[in-house]
Symmetry: C2
Subunit: 291 residues, 2 copies
């Protein structure tokens, strides 16, 4: 089992060291989180990110607007944070209230402060093979897991199940980049693929990011393959006090009998996503400091 | 043999009809070409594009700067054309003189006027699955060829050989999009792939865009596959008066014996690229008119 939490903790230590260096040079990396409304899940995500920032020596502040905030209010806050030099990263916590166009808000964030890496300018740079800007956190976390567990994708066949903007698509671009840590042959499967198993069975590395439990079963994996499970799904579980448990997109219990390695869920790709957010924030601060 | 020139001519007629509509509504679609220096090949490309515009009822003007133009001169011209409402598309002809950073110039073009579709904002929108903006011309030409020859890629396995920003990468994104005309399972191979034939032999559709003759040989293609050859390579040919001829990336003579269909070179993907440039220009004009 690949322990993503342990790798994430290693990365967070590296981020803390880099943040300390930047502080010594006079730049305290800063992250501004935006919370619109009072969704309890969003509250707890933002709190977890702020805590992770503090531990890494990144200054974090959360800016709140009521659920009734207008489009202009939200755009106004983005403009204010774009101009505020204390912050090198801006994180509009999703989902935004349904009357707000999320895409418009995300696009209004200065690409230099887009630490999610999902601004079109940053996604476009990725297509160009330019990894100098912000890289989407979850795919970048997958890249780090592969690298730090000795599973260099170079020359390997990686099959990705799922074509989301958040994971599958940017990951395919990253993996097929020329250069160290990448250089894989990549196949993208999705709901339009007639027989996903026909592809995953040929993979050295399978990344499953479909958002559905049991998308990847043991018969779909070659002996010795490495499986990265990006899914986080709640399923009912009467044996738990809270009535549910988290499972990934792979049938982990059976897949682990066949695969050489598989990431844990929870505690696999999830913790990496926050770690890579910290990486993007400190990199944005370093770029700002060098200008 | 798939006749790209015939398909391109069909598309150019459609563009001409759309341009006539826009003119009737008071908007004459306009394309500004930028030519820096006096490279004869660039002169002839720009002339061909201008001629294609005229035939389609698109107003075209070429703006020239000497080879000694400074970065500021070139950026100044881009700024002037961004502001000139007669032009809905701006085309900096590449290559620019070596003392000019091409990327900086291309990035300075207003994304709304980027008819090459290679501005990071437009590439980024593509990653998001948003095909409402400019789409890179060559990959979009490949999509049109597939559609108009009855080779809908939906549910098929498309293997792309080549990971360029111009062709391979955006094409992989377009083909894996959800929706009509796309929805393919896509594999990207490249120089880092140990055995490209192992992938191409499994393909329903092979797109070869590697920039090297004989990248795709007959033994690498399954009987009945469709082959799209994006390559245009000059090779020595003493039997020709000019001493060379154009060949694609596939060994066409032998591949055509195995494949169900293969695009001509020249006269395949090449003419489609200009046709799709006209499509992007007219679409940009329509967007500007509707604002």
């Amino acid at each position: 089992m690949i322990d993503g939490a342990a790798i994430a903790s290693e990365i967070r230590s590296e981020v803390a060291a880099r943040a300390a260096e930047l502080r010594e040079q006079g730049t305290t990396p800063g992250l501004a989180a935006m919370l619109v409304g009072d969704d309890p899940a969003s509250e707890s995500y933002v709190a977890a990110k702020a805590r992770a920032c503090e531990e890494a020596g990144i200054f974090a502040e959360t800016f709140r607007l009521p659920a009734t905030a207008s489009r202009e209010d939200v755009l106004g806050l983005v403009g204010q944070l774009n101009a505020d030099t204390r912050f090198h990263g801006i994180l509009p916590q999703l989902p935004l209230p349904s009357h707000i166009d999320e895409r418009e808000i995300l696009d209004a964030v200065d690409p230099a402060k887009d630490v999610d890496g999902l601004h079109p300018v940053n996604l476009g740079r990725l297509v160009r093979g330019d990894t100098g800007g912000a890289i989407p956190c979850t795919p970048n976390g997958v890249m780090e897991i592969l690298q730090r567990t000795g599973n260099d994708p170079a020359g390997k066949h990686v099959v990705i199940v799922g074509r989301s903007t958040l994971v599958g698509r940017p990951l395919a671009i990253l993996l097929s980049n020329k250069g160290p840590g990448a250089n894989a042959t990549v196949t993208i499967c999705h709901t339009g693929t007639p027989d996903i198993g026909a592809y995953t069975r040929q993979a050295d590395i399978v990344v499953v990011a479909a958002g559905r439990p049991n998308t990847l079963t043991a018969d779909m994996v070659s002996p010795g393959a490495v499986v990265i499970d990006v899914g986080t799904n709640r399923i009912d579980d009467a044996s738990r006090e809270r009535g549910w448990r988290l499972v990934g997109d792979a049938d982990a219990r059976n897949v682990r009998e066949v695969a050489a390695a598989i990431t844990k869920v929870p505690g696999g790709v999830g913790p990496m996503t926050i770690a890579m957010l910290l990486v993007n924030t400190v990199r944005a601060a370093a770029r700002a400091a060098s200008q």
